[in-house]
């Protein structure tokens, strides 16, 4: 027998009551895990347009599944506690309890897997964001193409909300034509020069959209002719820091999502601990009640004691 404890009738009753309370707390923990999963999934779905694949959605999906399963198993545990002190009703749970322990172990393993996955999938998330943001920046100008017409608004709002510019930094905008052809005067010399200056015939400029502007800058935002120091008074491109957001949107989004998942880490770990406590207490209760029933009614007149076991092997 592993970790043997002796239980009197009174102690069994106390254990059953305490375990009933703990299993209801565990039900609420399960609901908490489910809500966490829903919140994470909502946040990921909000930025769906700048992500290329949905592999990272595995984390919230598992959290939601585990949350629901945990609610169910802990509710069953509370019913078992209620019936444990009644000798007529307890035997019907006997068969189910083995399956219950297996399920509880599985849930704990899944929760640990979720914590591990949230770190392991960071690389995949970064890749997905890289491709998604590159496409977003490329299609920024296509406000007249069905299916892409909201790309401009999405990227603008993203850059303003997360205080970032471009994919890795603001220079990403120099390599892409982000002004739609509808607003270019093809008869003017400047436009013709720029289009001829590169192989693909794109209108490239050393400028960024307004959403890259940093409100904390002391001077009005400089968006165009960024590399040309003589175009603006008292301006040095190399040393100018506050004019635009210096962070790239890929880094900003990764920091945000990693922060979210890290902050849920302690919550998940505490739920794992609680679930293991419930499982251990239920095992003690089961062994104690079965021992008491095995001793039979003849000993009911005397003070009843029964051994409680921590392991099945004996």
């Amino acid at each position: 027998m592993l970790l043997k404890i002796n239980f009197t009738q009174q102690r069994r009753v106390r254990l059953a009551q305490g375990l009933w309370l703990m299993s209801w707390l565990a039900v609420m923990c399960g609901a908490f895990i489910f809500c966490l999963g829903v919140y994470l999934k909502t946040e990921l779905l909000r930025r769906n347009e700048v992500m290329e694949n949905t592999e990272i959605h595995m984390v919230p999906n598992i959290l939601m599944m585990v949350g629901l399963a945990s609610i169910g198993t802990n509710w069953v545990a509370s019913r078992v506690c209620q019936d444990s002190l009644d000798a007529t009703r307890f035997p019907r749970w006997k068969v189910l309890l083995l399956a219950w322990f297996a399920l509880a172990a599985l849930l704990c393993c899944l929760l640990i897997a979720v914590v591990v996955l949230s770190y392991a999938l960071q690389g995949r998330l970064e890749e997905s964001l890289k491709v998604g943001l590159r496409n977003g920046i490329r299609f920024y100008k296509d406000t007249d193409v069905p299916g892409r017409c909201f790309q401009k608004e999405t990227i603008d709002r993203l850059q303003m909300e997360f205080r970032c510019c471009g994919n890795s930094n603001f220079r990403d905008w120099f390599e892409v034509q982000w002004v739609s052809n509808r607003y270019l005067d093809f008869t003017s010399k400047d436009v013709k020069d720029r289009i001829r200056s590169n192989v693909d015939g794109r209108y490239l400029l050393d400028g960024v959209p307004f959403s890259c502007c940093n409100p904390a800058s002391p001077r009005p935002c400089l968006q165009y002719h960024l590399t040309d120091n003589s175009a603006h008074y008292n301006y040095d491109f190399q040393s100018e820091e506050l004019n635009l957001h210096s962070r790239g949107c890929r880094q900003a989004l990764i920091d945000y999502y990693m922060g979210l998942m890290n902050s849920t880490g302690p919550g998940v770990l505490s739920v794992i601990l609680r679930q293991m406590t419930v499982a251990a207490s239920l095992r003690y209760l089961q062994a104690a009640v079965e021992g008491a029933m095995a001793l039979g009614g003849t000993q009911r007149a005397r003070r009843e004691t029964s051994p409680g076991e921590g392991s099945r092997n004996h």
């Binding site: 982000w178 002004v179 509808r182 307004f210 409100p215």
Partner: protein
């Protein structure tokens, strides 16, 4: 003839006490709600105090916080009294102060109605505060090197982006002030000298707006400068252009935001007032039903409950008579003293 007389037996009294106790706990939570709403409103006002001329009145949120706390206290006390009302020995110690408590509750309910009314009326002074504050804010936009005003640019930019507005009434307000700091103007350039020479105050005025006025929903990259010059931009007509910059003025935007908040809070306070009136009436019934037991020794005897012992008119005349008697009593004392003084 009592007002709204109801006959009670023991079972009915117990049920009444339990219901009123339950309602008191709801009322405690309502008090917590009023408190938290006052706190929320205070924080929101503080967040934008720079744009409100630093002059905004915190009277309403402070009042809400105070009323929330008092509501919690009163309702907790009332709930305790209801809980004890089922036990005659415990109830006996509360009995003497119950009448005063009920009068206090009626006064408190009137104060709650006044609070709700204030929530709807405070919109008007807020309008003036906002107008003044925003106008000053725009004037100090360029002063990013003046201590005390260096964050005005950032505050205004963030506010225009968050509330999707531009300028005070509309974007043209930016045309009338200099919002570019002198540090970034090349005074040797012809264009700058022309603009400064074009107005009496020597300000660098232009037909442009800050970047925070830009509307992300526009299909074309934002046009911030030379907005009234159609030839400066390809395929641009500033009369028909709608999506380029935000059309709404920030005063309207902020007013509708705070106005909506105050309307919601006012509506909730009205609901809380109705709940308070209901629990006060319930407590009055509990009190009156327990003081009119047919047989005072027997807790199971029948009794009557009412809101007012006599009709409204009679109660009113009673109160007036009492007040006159109190006034006359002090006059009689004075008269007696004067008579004694003249006699001696």
């Amino acid at each position: 003839m009592a007002l709204m007389l109801v006959k009670f037996d023991l079972k009915k009294r117990v049920k009444l006490a339990q219901t009123v106790w339950f309602m008191y706990w709801f009322a405690v939570m309502a008090g917590v709600l009023v408190f938290s709403m006052g706190l929320f409103f205070k924080i929101e006002l503080r967040k934008r105090s720079e744009l409100m001329d630093n002059n905004e009145s915190h009277f309403l949120p402070n009042l809400l916080i105070f009323m929330g706390l008092v509501t919690c206290g009163i309702n907790a006390f009332g709930g305790k009294v209801c809980y004890d009302s089922l036990d005659p020995t415990k109830f006996a110690k509360w009995k003497p102060m119950l009448k005063t408590f009920l009068v206090f509750c009626v006064g408190f309910n009137a104060l709650l109605i006044v609070t709700a009314l204030l929530c709807f009326l405070m919109r008007i002074p807020l309008q003036f505060t906002l107008a003044e504050g925003l106008r000053n804010g725009m004037r100090y936009y360029k002063d990013t090197d003046t201590p005390g005003r260096c964050y005005m640019k950032r505050t205004l930019d963030l506010m225009q982006m968050e509330f999707r507005c531009c300028g005070n009434d509309n974007y043209r307000d930016w045309f009338e002030i200099q919002w570019v700091s002198n540090r970034y103007l090349d005074f040797s350039a012809k264009e700058v000298k022309d603009r400064i020479g074009s107005n009496v105050d020597g300000q660098y005025l232009m037909d442009g707006v800050p970047f925070s006025c830009c509307n992300p929903s526009s299909p074309r990259p934002c046009i911030q400068y030379q907005m009234t010059n159609n030839t400066a931009h390809y395929s641009y007509d500033h009369y028909t252009e709608e999506l380029n910059v935000w059309k709404r003025g920030c005063r309207d935007a902020l007013l509708s935001y705070y106005g909506g908040m105050m309307n919601t809070i006012g509506a909730l306070v009205v609901l809380v007032t109705m709940l308070e009136v209901a629990v006060t009436i319930g407590l009055q019934y509990v009190n009156s039903s327990l003081s009119t037991l047919a047989n005072p020794e027997d807790p199971e005897s029948e009794s009557e409950g009412w809101i007012l012992e006599k009709t409204v008119k009679e109660t009113f005349t009673d109160i007036m008579a009492k007040m006159k008697a109190m006034g006359k009593g002090s006059k009689v004392e004075e008269g007696g003293e004067a008579a004694v003084a003249t006699e001696s």
